[in-house]
């Protein structure tokens, strides 16, 4: 009986190995392990065996059955894997073909620069103040210590609409308006970005319309050294941590003392190159301590309050940052230009 079982095992395993697909395999399973299969037959005949032989043969029969089952399982997973592999191979695509483009525009480079600067000052506790682009002579000039007859407010340099109304030549009127709203109570801590207009012929370095960002802090005990601190933070965040800044005395009617800020050249780190015109320094912005007349005109007591203001040109910063050589590019909106600022 044992020989018979042994023979069945060899025969079954042989057939399992030859099975071509899952259907063949199922047939083998039914043939050998089914209720009417030969192993069941063998077990049915166990009654004829002696009490000693019975458990031995019974155990051996189970062993044979398990071996066949194991082989069946093994073959089944082999056949299944082969089927999956074949299916996958038929599904193969050319991954080198281009993907479906996702429609996505991007900000104008000036907006990118302005937003970056805004975010930087917002993080330092500033808010953004805005004002009209068509302004009165009072806010654009007079409130900023540029009385009538001052050479810096020549009719030739500004787009006047009437004698008293003009396109603002700077974003400073927003400062005057904001201070006025505070009614002599500090602190004021704002930046004011926006478009401004001057009567210039458009060329590579001039534009009759351009952008400005100005900042203003008015409070008790505001010092020139604090201005230095704020500007240094700005310069490092905007142009790199290893930037140095330099303040040079300058002149603006609405600040006294007035300064201009240079940063160490980010291209050559101060060695001298074409960007910094061999000086190692790049002029970035104008600033100063708010002129007492400006504070007083806006209703602040200049004995009690001091303040600083600064102003810069996003066009200039964008031109420096991205190496743009002509200011007119910003306003021509050539799509090949705009598309370059995806990661700006």
């Amino acid at each position: 009986m044992k020989d018979r079982l042994e023979a069945l095992k060899v025969e079954a395993i042989g057939q399992i190995k030859e099975a071509q697909d899952l259907k063949d395999l199922q047939a083998v399973k039914v043939a050998y392990l089914g209720k009417k299969g030969p192993i069941t037959e063998v077990l049915k005949g166990m009654g004829k065996l002696s009490a000693e032989e019975r458990p031995v043969i019974g155990a051996y029969a189970n062993e044979v059955r398990d071996s066949i089952q194991q082989e069946l399982d093994k073959k089944q997973s082999e056949l299944e894997n082969a089927a999956i592999a074949e299916k996958l191979s038929k599904e193969t695509i050319d991954v080198s073909l281009p993907g479906r483009p996702v429609k996505k525009g991007n900000p104008h480079p000036l907006t990118a620069v302005v937003t970056e600067i805004e975010d930087l000052f917002l993080s330092m506790g500033f808010t953004i103040a805005e004002g009209p682009e068509v302004e009165t002579d009072y806010y654009n000039f007079e409130a900023l210590n540029l009385p009538k007859g001052h050479p810096a407010r020549d009719m030739q340099d500004s787009f006047f609409i009437t004698e008293d109304i003009l396109l603002r030549t700077q974003t400073s009127p927003v400062q005057a308006r904001t201070m006025e709203k505070h009614e002599g109570e500090g602190p004021v801590k704002i930046i004011s970005p926006g478009k401004v207009y001057r009567r210039d012929n458009d060329d590579a370095t001039h534009s009759h319309q351009f952008m400005q960002i100005e900042g203003l802090v008015v409070d008790q005990n505001v010092r020139l050294s604090d201005l230095k601190g704020v500007l240094e933070t700005f310069a490092k965040k905007m142009f790199g941590e290893d930037r140095k800044i330099r303040l040079r005395p300058s002149f603006f009617p609405f600040t006294e003392p007035s300064v201009e800020m240079d940063i160490s050249c980010f291209k050559c780190s101060g060695k001298g190159c074409s960007i910094c015109k061999q000086t190692g320094w790049i002029e970035i912005l104008g600033a100063g301590m708010v002129h007492p007349n400006v504070l007083e005109m806006a209703g602040f007591d200049s004995k009690k309050y001091t303040g600083f203001a600064f102003g810069m040109g996003p066009e200039r910063i964008a031109m420096l940052k991205y190496g743009i050589d002509d200011i007119r590019h910003f306003y021509a909106n050539d799509i090949r230009f705009l598309k370059q600022f995806k990661n700006a």
Binding site: G125, K189, E256, V259, N333, D334
Partner: protein, 807 residues
């Protein structure tokens, strides 16, 4: 302002190089824009003596010269200059010499004659042709006879000098002259200023015997001084003076004129020399010109004057426009012997008026306009007269004939040291402060940190405490001011809701595939009125003095400029574009603009050509109305306004009448979306173009509901689809509205999923299919409830539109 380094050194001791000096000047307040070496790489140019000069045998225009170039060496040099002659001292570039532009001189043969070098003109030595004295403009430069052959010619020509170009801010007109800069440099380097000698040995004659001076208005002309210098000999000024004038950008003319220019540069005081014999009288009267009065100026132009101009007259006719230009009749000429020297202080407004009207800006007029030192007029006159005696052999008559006040009193300004330190963030002591004022040449009184500073008349820019603080700060050095952080209490910064929403709009539109453009606010008067959707009468706003018609009028819509961008790109063969802009427009409802116009932030977009494209999969879809409407619908969702926005067919100028929708918020128009009118598309030469324009100010000023979380559905929803046959003109939006109203509470979603207008439909009909989703968050709906609601919908549709279910 151009400042010669060598000239400057005459008044103040400078032991550092020109570039180091420039760096120090820049750091303490005056920007040195450039340091230019006058020696533009020149070497090997020596003084030569022309011993012989004969005609070249083979060339009409050439001469063959024998030139002594020092150490007994005589070289043959061929020269083409018309003015070369025997006996001249000239500048010779010997073989091996280098001229500007790295031009190397070699031995050569010119038309068969050997030439060992080159006799140079000033232009060849790098001097701007405009500055070369007229007599040498077309030839070589002839040097003084005492020049030593073989010695360095550059020394004679002062071409080893450096020139500092100062970028002066309007408050520092005091540095528009060499002495002023010397004062500044002396303060920086802690040195003394040495002023030039102005002592004069006068003749027996008295100036008052020759001339009288009368001023009509002391307001226009606070001071006028006249000196008489007799028996001058007109000739070239000495080379050192010519060199300094050329280094400063002024062309030498003759000794008398050169002296007035020299003193102008030295003292900053404009001077004028009249030919006394040609004055036509013995009196000087300064008055306003009469309207239409004429004068022939030095440049031989006939000038028509106005009442606002100030003129110098001989009692009858104008002989000069005050502070601007002299007249031709009294010009100093080669035969002039007696000179009247004018040193005056004219009001800047008068000079500016004449200079502007006549289009004449000179070294003199610009100084008067910026303000000169009143208390230096007299000293400058003395200096010029002494030079005329020294360099032109003149006899200076005793005295100066004056009208007005020669000098004005100076004033003092107070400054508190502790307030200064509070403003600068420094700890500068009173002693340091005092020493800085001394360096600046400011006298002062001090007690206990309270300074009272006498402001010299050359510094009228200093009027308040802050001005003095700046002076101390800049000389102390801004690089020594510490870096600190604001002491004020921390307050949160951040964007306002409106600002944040505007950023959201931009980010959304960019995410939708549109590129941001930034265009000009000024456009043409015609374009400014295009695309107006304002119902009220509006008046375009034009600037008074535009640079061009193209940029003369403020925009009322962003679209005309965006269309220009499309055209610009189309002209460069880029026809598929999607752009938007966010910016201000200006609406004026006043016939005469007296109040500021209304300003609104608009957001507008323009899309043309292919919008969706994936070529190898065969997709290439051009933009249509529904692309833009979809973008707007998404935007309104972003702004939490979807429920309140409607789109109604409407007409806008320049838009396609059948493909334009007015966008309304709570029933009020806030913009539009649609296709450009085909006629305009043709005019602009663009493909089908769809645009939108929204008034973002109006959109964002509306309060929106706070977002509240909705419980996730726990019960199933039931969906019913219906296909309706309706009249072809019936807008689908009307059906949706009715379905929604009739469906009631349980109807949560209505989606249009099919539109059919084909042959299978009856004439004038179309089929629309909707999917309706019924749902109750609290429980499972019964069939009966849904049927009731659904029948209500079908009934309403039939009643309102005669809509039938499609069979």
């Amino acid at each position: 302002m151009l400042i010669s380094y060598n000239w400057l050194k005459e008044y103040v001791n400078v032991e550092i190089s020109p570039s180091e000096l420039a760096d120090k000047i820049t750091k303490s307040g005056i920007e040195v824009e450039m340091v230019e070496s006058l020696n533009k790489g020149i070497s090997g140019v020596v003084v030569g003596y022309v011993e012989e000069c004969i005609q070249h045998p083979n060339a009409d225009k050439l001469r063959v010269c024998k030139v002594d170039v020092g150490q007994g060496e005589v070289s043959q040099i061929v020269c083409g200059a018309p003015n070369v002659a025997q006996g001249q001292k000239v500048a010779v570039a010997v073989p091996g010499a280098v001229l500007p532009g790295n031009f190397k001189i070699k031995k050569a043969k010119l038309r068969g004659e050997e030439s060992h070098g080159m006799i140079c003109s000033l232009t060849e030595l790098g001097v701007d042709t405009k500055l070369v004295p007229k007599e040498y403009a077309t030839g070589i430069f002839v040097m003084p006879s005492d020049a030593e052959p073989g010695s360095d010619a550059l020394e004679y020509l002062n071409l080893n000098d450096h020139v500092l170009e100062l970028g002066l801010t309007p408050n520092r007109a005091d540095c528009l002259n060499v002495i002023g800069v010397a004062n500044e440099v002396a303060a920086i380097l802690e040195q003394e200023v040495k002023l030039p000698n102005t002592s004069i040995k006068t003749s027996e004659e008295k100036a008052g015997e020759f001339i009288s001076v009368q001023i009509e208005s002391l307001e226009d002309n606070p001071y006028y001084g006249a000196m008489i210098i007799r028996d001058v000999k007109i000739g070239p000024s000495p080379l050192w003076m010519q060199n300094r004038l050329m280094a400063s950008g002024i062309r030498p003319i003759n000794n008398i004129v050169d002296i007035t220019n020299y003193v102008l540069l030295e003292y900053g005081q404009p001077l004028h020399a009249f030919d006394y014999n040609r004055l036509g009288s013995k009196e000087i009267v300064i008055r306003r010109a009469t309207e239409g009065e004429h004068i022939q100026t030095l440049d031989d132009q006939d000038r028509k004057l106005k009442e606002t101009h100030l003129v110098i007259t001989n009692g009858k006719d104008p002989i000069a426009v005050a502070g601007v230009m002299g007249g031709a009749t009294s010009e100093v000429q080669s035969d002039t012997t007696n000179v009247l020297l004018e040193a005056a202080y004219f009001a800047s407004g008068r000079v500016r008026a004449a200079s502007k009207d006549l289009g004449l800006r000179s070294e003199a007029s610009s100084r008067y306009e910026k303000g000169i030192d009143r208390n230096r007029v007299y000293a400058a006159a003395m200096r010029a007269a002494s030079l005329m005696a020294e360099l032109a052999g003149g006899k200076v008559a005793e005295g100066i004939v004056e009208a007005g006040k020669r000098e004005v009193n100076t004033y003092s300004v107070k400054m508190d040291v502790s307030r200064m330190n509070n403003l600068l963030g420094t700890e500068i002591t009173s002693e340091q402060t005092g020493s800085i004022f001394k360096r600046l040449g400011f006298s002062y009184k001090e007690s206990d940190g309270q300074f009272e500073v006498n402001v010299p008349s050359r510094r009228p820019d200093i009027t308040i405490e802050a001005d003095l603080i700046e002076e101390v700060g800049r000389i102390y050095g801004y690089d020594r001011i510490p870096t600190t952080y604001l002491l004020s209490e921390a307050r949160p910064g951040g964007l306002t809701k409106n600002q944040a929403q505007r950023r959201n709009i931009r980010t959304y539109l960019e995410g939708a595939g549109l590129y941001q453009a930034v265009t000009y606010a000024l456009t043409t008067p015609l374009k400014s009125t295009h695309f107006s959707f304002s119902k009220e009468k509006v008046y375009p706003i034009s600037v008074a003095h535009p640079m061009s018609e193209e940029r003369s009028t403020l925009r009322m819509s962003l679209l005309p400029q965006l269309l220009e961008v499309l055209q610009y790109n189309r002209n460069r063969s880029m026809e598929d574009l999607a752009i938007y802009e966010m910016g201000s427009v200006f609406i004026n409802r006043q016939e005469v603009l007296t109040d500021l116009p209304e300003e609104y932030v608009f957001v507008s977009g323009a899309v043309t050509g292919v919008f969706n494209e994936h070529l190898w999969q065969g997709e290439r879809k051009t933009v249509d109305f529904y692309v833009l409407k979809g973008i707007l619908e998404g935007l309104m969702g972003e702004l939490n306004l979807s429920e309140r926005i409607t789109y109604e067919a409407g007409e806008i100028e320049n838009m396609h009448p059948g493909r334009t929708a007015i966008v309304k918020l709570d029933g009020i128009s806030v913009g539009f979306v649609g296709q450009l009118h085909p006629a305009l598309q043709k005019e602009l030469d663009v493909k089908d173009t769809y645009v939108f324009e929204l008034n973002a100010t109006s959109l964002l000023e509306k309060e929106t509901d706070q977002m509240v979380y909705q419980t996730l559905p726990r019960y199933p929803s039931i969906t019913r689809d219906i296909a309706l046959v309706v009249d072809q003109e019936l807008p689908a939006g009307d059906l949706t509205t009715v379905i929604q109203a009739a469906g009631g509470e349980l109807l949560k979603e209505v989606n249009l999923f099919d539109l059919y207008e084909g042959e299978k439909m009856e004439e004038g009909k179309k089929s629309l299919a909707f999917s309706l989703k019924y749902f109750d968050p609290e429980r499972t709906l019964t069939d009966e409830e849904v049927v009731t609601a659904h029948n209500r919908v079908l009934k309403s549709l039939e009643e309102r539109f005669g809509a039938q279910l499609r069979k």
